[in-house]
């Protein structure tokens, strides 16, 4: 491998290109018309215009991306996250074009991308699972009989959903018909597929996950756990590694289930297994993310292992650079997703960045997709940067994060830094015993006084 096409944009494209340079590889950027001067284009060794403004004509245009790879003489493609990262057709097209796909096999992407298949696979290897329908529901009466057996609340989920979308909580039988009908409609509109299944819903659960690497020899290593419970609109805002205050038993179950699931799926390269942990200790497998994730830096910070480096090695058929039996997590890391959103209602908005003064301090890592003078447009999600902080323990990481959010200055588009200032003093968050309901509780208490 000499040259990698990074089929993405923003902060992750820059991060991946840094990884390529660290490994002595050249990197190629692609861009939509309006991104001619974007940071990822400036960073790359070569950049190719995709011709167009919409994602469908640019970052989602498989034919154009393969064509750029050929013209640039790239021998590998990294899809990043989002866009085509979990598109099995893209993985197959890359391989068919005799390029190296930096990611898992297309079959694993396809199998694990169907949540009902993933559930059956997990159940088959004995992973913990809440009760749920094994196949998408053909009609609402199937869901009604599931409810008769298992009770409420239930979660209707899009089988091909993701990113926190395509989920409807149903608390009462009268809501079922409307919820199922709109779930199918919205899923079709958002994901192109209307299949929905149902599971018992775990209220006030923690969202936990494991960063895994399958090295291609059949060995699956878990590098660290992460806690991603701090969410708004079912999307992550903050992630921590390792997940705070897990018992050894809980950690063991997460590790064993993750390794079994990925091994059974024939997985290769980096992937994440997601779980929910209810207040009563019930653990349930949620899904597998067949890609490198936004929050991968927190695992890198506590293990000292560069995930992109390992991805490149595994794709090239080389051994990973660390001892798979010697992985240990030390210290604690947090990632705060700095979004172009207001800090109270989390409503997004574009703008030209007139001031960008990054935070300085010990243990800070900033993965940014923008800088001073750059324009945040309406075309893409509002992620400005990932502010990551490392400390010798969680308390130090929190202290460093408090200083970092106060010293980070962004002007132009709105930003959610003031929310993090508030969060880092929230008693539940500081105690490390919070769940996916925390942001709603913070906003509810603000509303009432």
């Amino acid at each position: 491998m000499d040259k990698v096409l990074v089929a993405n944009r923003g902060e992750i494209a820059v991060r991946l290109m840094r990884g390529c340079h660290d490994a002595g590889l050249a990197c190629v950027a692609v861009y939509a018309d309006q991104e001619l001067e974007a940071p990822h284009v400036r960073f790359a060794d070569e950049a190719f215009a995709l011709g167009g403004t919409q994602p469908s004509d640019t970052y989602l245009a498989i034919g154009k991306l393969i064509d750029v790879a050929r013209r640039a003489g790239a021998d590998a493609v990294h899809p990043g996250y989002g866009f085509l990262a979990e598109n099995a057709d893209f993985a197959e097209a890359v391989v068919a074009a005799r390029l190296t796909w930096i990611g898992p096999p297309a079959k694993a992407i396809r199998d694990l991308g169907d949540k009902t298949v993933a559930r059956r696979l997990a159940a088959g290897v004995g992973a913990p699972l809440v009760p749920g329908l094994p196949e998408p529901a053909r009609d609402v009466s199937e869901i009604r009989s599931f409810a008769a057996d298992h009770g409420f609340p239930l979660l209707i989920k899009a089988a091909f959903g993701g990113g926190g979308r395509g989920m409807k909580v149903v608390r009462r039988p009268e809501e079922l018909d409307q919820a199922f009908e709109s779930a199918v409609r919205e899923s079709t509109a958002a994901f192109g597929r209307g299949e929905c299944f149902v599971e018992r819903y775990l209220e006030e659960a923690r969202h936990l996950e494991t960063q895994c690497l399958a090295d291609g020899t059949g060995k699956v290593v878990v590098l660290s756990t992460r806690d991603c419970s701090l969410q708004r609109r079912n999307q992550k805002l903050v992630e921590e590694a390792p997940a705070p205050f897990l018992t050894e038993e809980q950690e063991g179950r997460l590790y064993e289930a993750s390794k079994a699931i990925l091994a059974e799926a024939g997985y290769v390269n980096a992937g994440t297994c997601e779980f929910l942990l209810a207040p009563d200790g019930t653990l349930s497998f949620n899904e597998v993310n067949t890609r490198l994730q936004v929050e991968h830096p927190v695992t890198e910070l506590v293990t000292g292992i560069d995930l992109v480096e390992q991805q490149l090695r595994i794709a090239a058929g080389t051994a990973v650079s660390f001892d798979p039996d010697g992985v240990s997590a030390e210290g604690h890391a947090l990632e705060l997703r700095v979004y172009a959103e207001d800090p109270k209602r989390f409503l997004p908005g574009p703008g030209r960045i007139s001031v960008w003064e990054p935070p300085r301090g010990e243990g800070i890592r900033l993965d940014a997709g923008y800088g001073e003078g750059d324009i945040v447009t309406m075309h893409y999600d509002p992620l400005l940067a990932k502010l990551c902080v490392y400390g010798a323990d969680r308390a130090q990481a929190l202290d460093r994060a408090r200083a970092a959010v106060r010293s980070f200055r962004i002007e132009g588009p709105k930003n959610n830094l003031p929310f993090f200032v508030e969060l880092l003093d929230n008693p539940e968050f500081v105690a490390g015993s919070y769940d996916t309901g925390l942001v709603n509780r913070m906003r509810a208490s603000r509303k009432s006084g």
Partner: protein, 71 residues
């Protein structure tokens, strides 16, 4: 007293979930807007009857545009 539900930012109207004449409660989703690749629900902040729903799926709204009236 009528509640005027207005758009809080520029966005596309992705889904209209409620209909004129519906009985709504505080917290019910009326429409779902899409902005910057994210779905943002617009919810009722009072209980009552949805007497006006002034947007259709596919419309573009600007900050401050009226979306619905609840009486």
């Amino acid at each position: 007293m009528a509640e005027e539900v207005r758009a809080e930012m520029a966005a596309n109207v992705w889904k209209v979930v409620a209909a004129e004449g519906d009985s709504v409660e505080d917290g019910d989703t009326l429409v779902i807007l899409e902005s910057m690749k994210m779905e943002i629900p617009v919810v009722a902040e009072s209980a009552g009857t949805l007497t006006q729903l002034t947007v259709n799926e596919g419309d573009i709204v600007n900050e401050g545009d009226l979306i619905a009236v609840i009486d």
